[in-house]
Structures are given as C-alpha cells and as structure tokens.
C-alpha cells in the first residue's frame, strides 16, 4: 500500500490529509457510505405534503426521487430509468400522476414501479418487446424510507439499522426538541458551493472548538462562547452529535480577554433587534447544532431553524444545501424574527460565512501534504459526550464512524 493511503494506527485523533485528496477515496465513500448502511436525509415531509408531490435529491452521486403516492405513503427510488439509465425526473420537485422517462417513454408509478413501455407490442405486429418481458422485473433500485418529526431519510442498504437506533435516543430527543408537534414551512432554499472535500465541512459542523474562535460575530454577542453553559453529545458509534449552549446570567467571559483571542472585541450592532429573539423552547438554549452521520445537519441558532444537506460533487467540491424553516404556528412577529435571524447563517451569514471558505483553506493548505496528518487532541483521544465544548470529541466521533464504514 502506498504511504499516503495508510492511516496512523488505531487513531481517531490523527487524520491523514490524503483522505481529502484522492479520487479512489471518494469512490470508496460512494459505495461504503452513500450507498452503504447509513441513513441519508432526503427532504422534508412538508415539501411533499400532497399525493403526487415529489422532490429529487442525491445520496452522494446517486440521484434519487422522493414521492408521495396515492395512498399518502412516501417512497424513494433511484432517479434512473431501468431501460437505459436516463434520469426519470428532471425537476427539483413538483406534482405528477406518474413519471415518464423522456428518452423512450418508459413510465413509472409514484413508488418507482415500471407501469408501461412504449411500443411494447411493436408496430403493426413487428418489433416490440419479447413475450417473456415482464414489467415487474424492471425498476430502479428502491430505498428504504423512514421519517422522524417531518424529516425524511432513506437508505439503499438492507443492513442499515432502524432509524431511531441509528440516531440513538439522545439524538432523537434533540430532534424532537426542535421539530416535534409543529408544522414546518420552508422559508427559502439556498445552495452554497464549497471549494473543498465534503468531509472538511462535516468535520467543521462537529467542531465545537472553532465556533467561537473563527466566528467573531457569535462570540461578541454571546450567541455562543465556550465559556457559556453548554455541552456536547456524541452518539455511541461516534457519527452523530449535538453541540448546545445556553444563556446563563453572570457567566464568566474573561478567558477570551486573558488569552488575547481575536474573538473578544467591543463591536456593537446599530440595529440590535437582530438578536432580540423569542423564547421558543423554554430552556434558554440559544444554540443547538445536531449532525447525523454522514451528511445531515439540523440547526437551531436562536430562532433560526434550518436543515443542511451535504452532497459531494468532486474530491474538492461540495454542495451545501440549506433549507430555512419556519412553522405554521408562528405569529407574524415570530416569522419576521426568523427571517431576520436568517442573516446569521448561510453563504452570507454573519456567523457562518467563514465556514464557506475555511474548508478551502484546508484543501489548499494541505495540498502536497497527503502523507501528513491533522491533529485532533483537544479534550483527549476519545469520542465521548462531555459537559465542555473545548474538545474535538465529536470530530473524532465522525472519524470513528467513518473508519468503521469505509474500512480505512
């Protein structure tokens, strides 16, 4: 094995840079992770509320259709015609009775079952499909589908454990905290094209260490400081996490000034209404970032709720899809506050625009260093939950799950 595909022995606190750089690594990920035994976020139930509604999405490179059938069930299947492999659905979404491939008009129902083949019996007794051709023997691969609080997940693998087992009880509870008992409404969708390997973003999401150091905006307005009350939950297999913080009156903030960290300043807002959010959950929790291995994120930053989906496009290119959420139960004032706080996140977000470029800094910084390693030793060597966020435990957790899934 060449030196630059060897992982430092037994380690999740050292990550070799070749893992972000090599085409054969991405090929293995497509098979072992994206088409493997993992649950992948597909869409929101709120995006396909009616019979006949559908959305298209991706499991890595694999194109997928998610559709609600005439009985109201949600189905997901490969967006690939069983005939010659063309895309079956070409739009981001819509409403339809069935899907017809544009190439040769093979027709599928809302569950991906083949229902019709053009000129099946030929023309004037000539041509056509052979007598032994059976529609039911041909269809795109179907995904298993599971939902939780309006989130739709899918997996191609029979080996993926049930969704709630995969997430773990603590993560399920934290999803319910944000979404249960409410009716999500999409406020907007944006795609951020990241100039880096997808794993540099999934690491970033789990990295509670960087948030208050890179994102000055966060720290100054006490949306999130490591000195705030908070903690980290890492699921048993390592792959899923929650980082949270809460307002605590009179909390110490001196560590930032003492260490002369750039994150301390006297910067003030001209319109502070941006941060005058409303108490939504009754727990003073201003921030909860939740990730599900490999590529799903549910975010609560004050009253800004969003889901994020990570789709690799190439070794060094990644699409980050943001869906901003409100709820049908919102008052007009609450809705305005959510729209206002959307300024915090996304490609132009006060506290997240840096995440769009920092992955590119690593991609470029570590070019030519495939045989070197990143160091993840903040807070020790394990991937356990903790009551501090001055740790890289959830990043190590990602690599624990990653190594288990890929065999690297």
């Amino acid at each position: 094995m060449p030196l630059d595909t060897v992982w430092p022995e037994g380690s999740i606190h050292q990550v070799p840079y070749w893992v972000f750089q090599r085409a054969e690594v991405l090929a293995r990920e497509q098979e072992a992770i994206f088409r493997g035994a993992c649950w992948h976020y597909l869409c929101l139930e709120a995006e396909i509320p009616n019979r006949g509604d559908y959305r298209t999405t991706q499991l890595g490179e694999l194109p997928v259709v998610v559709a609600r059938d005439a009985e109201g069930n949600i189905n997901a299947f490969e967006n690939r015609c069983a005939h010659r492999g063309a895309l079956i659905a070409l739009e981001d979404g819509g409403n339809t009775k069935d899907f017809t491939c544009v190439y040769h008009a093979w027709r599928y129902d809302m569950a991906g079952n083949l229902k019709g083949v053009a000129f099946r019996n030929g023309i004037a007794g000539k041509g056509g499909m052979p007598k032994d051709f059976k529609l039911e023997e041909h269809c795109p691969r179907k995904l298993r589908v599971a939902t939780l609080c309006g989130l739709v997940f899918g997996t191609l693998s029979e080996a993926t454990p049930p969704l709630e087992d995969y997430l773990g009880a603590e993560i399920v509870g934290r999803v319910q905290r944000v979404l249960a008992g409410r009716t999500p409404e999409v406020l907007g969708r944006f795609t951020q094209a990241l100039p880096n390997n997808w794993k540099l973003y999934t690491e970033n999401v789990r990295d509670s260490y960087h948030a208050s150091l890179l994102h000055l905006f966060f720290t100054t307005f006490e949306v999130n400081r490591l000195t705030q009350k908070g903690g980290l939950i890492v699921s048993e297999g390592g792959g899923n996490h929650v980082s949270w913080s809460a307002i605590e009156a009179g909390a110490a903030g001196g560590e930032y000034a003492q260490q002369q960290i750039r994150s301390d300043s006297d910067y003030k807002l001209a319109d502070p209404s941006l941060l005058h959010g409303f108490q939504e959950f009754g727990d003073n929790c201003t921030l909860q970032i939740l990730s599900v291995f490999p590529t799903f994120v549910l975010q609560q930053i004050q009253n800004c709720i969003a889901v994020r989906q990570v789709v690799p496009r190439a070794v060094d290119r990644t699409d980050l899809h943001w869906t901003y959420l409100g709820f049908a139960e919102d008052t007009a004032e609450q809705r305005i506050m959510r729209l206002k706080q959307c300024n915090l996140v996304g490609a132009a977000g006060f506290v997240s625009m840096e995440d769009g470029c920092v992955g590119g800094f690593v991609q470029r910084g570590a070019a030519g260093a495939g045989d070197q390693q990143a160091v993840l030793r903040m807070g020790g060597h394990d991937a356990a939950s903790s009551d501090t966020r001055a740790t890289e435990a959830s990043v190590r957790g990602f690599w624990k799950a990653y190594r288990a899934a890929t065999g690297y």
Binding site: D92, L269, D271, A347, F350, M353
Partner: protein, 153 residues
Amino acid sequence: MLNEIHGFQAAYARCIDDNRLEGWPDFFLADGRYRLTTADNHRRGLQAGLIWANSRAMLQDRISALRQANIYERHGYRHILGLPLVEPQADGTARAETPFMVARIMRDGTTDLFATGRYLDIFARDAAGALKLQERVVVCDSSRIDTLLAIPL
C-alpha cells in the same frame, strides 16, 4: 426621474466596486428594505433571503461586521448593470427593474462571473428630496453561491 435613476444605479455600483462600502447604506431610506434571494425562491414566493434587512441600520451592521468581524479572503466585485426599466407610480414613487452581472476578483487575480440577476427596486424621496431606495430585492438567477457572499450585490 429616469435620468436620476440611471445616475443612482451607476453610483450604487461604483460605491461597492470601489470598496467604499460604508457609503452603501446611504442609498436606502432609514426604514428601507434590502433582500438578496434567488429566482427560484422569488418565483415560489419564499420570503427568506441570504441577506434580509428592514432598516438602514441593519445594512450598516452588515458593513461593520465585514470590516471588523467576518473572515474571508480579500476580493472585490465589478458590477455591469443593464438598462433600468422604470415604471413611475401614482404616489410619486417609481418601480424599476435593472439587470446586473457581477464579476468577482480574488486576491490572486482569479476572476469569475460570480452572479447574474436583477434588482427589483422601489424608489422614493427622503425628507430632503433625495432619491433613495425604499426597497431593493436582489434576485440572483442561480440558486448556487460560490464559497460565500460577503460583499453585498
């Protein structure tokens, strides 16, 4: 008013492209609105923006955050604006639609077509009679933003 709007749009583009961003909020009324979104969201009537402001002070905060808080690689824009289509309104305001293309020039010289789209504007006069934006909705044609959007469009 048409000539005035022509001059206004040219001054707006130069303000951003010359990196005189502190002057950008002054193109708006004190209670002016600015929203930056995509054609897909706009068509569907979805209200969220990549940038969403309902006061000039929020725009000032954008600029002070860019100057003092946010981290990004040094870059600049070049706006090329098309001809505004202006529709004067009975109440003395005017609606205008102006297409744009914006190139992004990175510190290493890399120059890309960063965004195309249109400004959907409502122009009004402030107490002193100066022409200002009561509302600007920036509708980007693409739903994809490369890396980040720091400097406003």
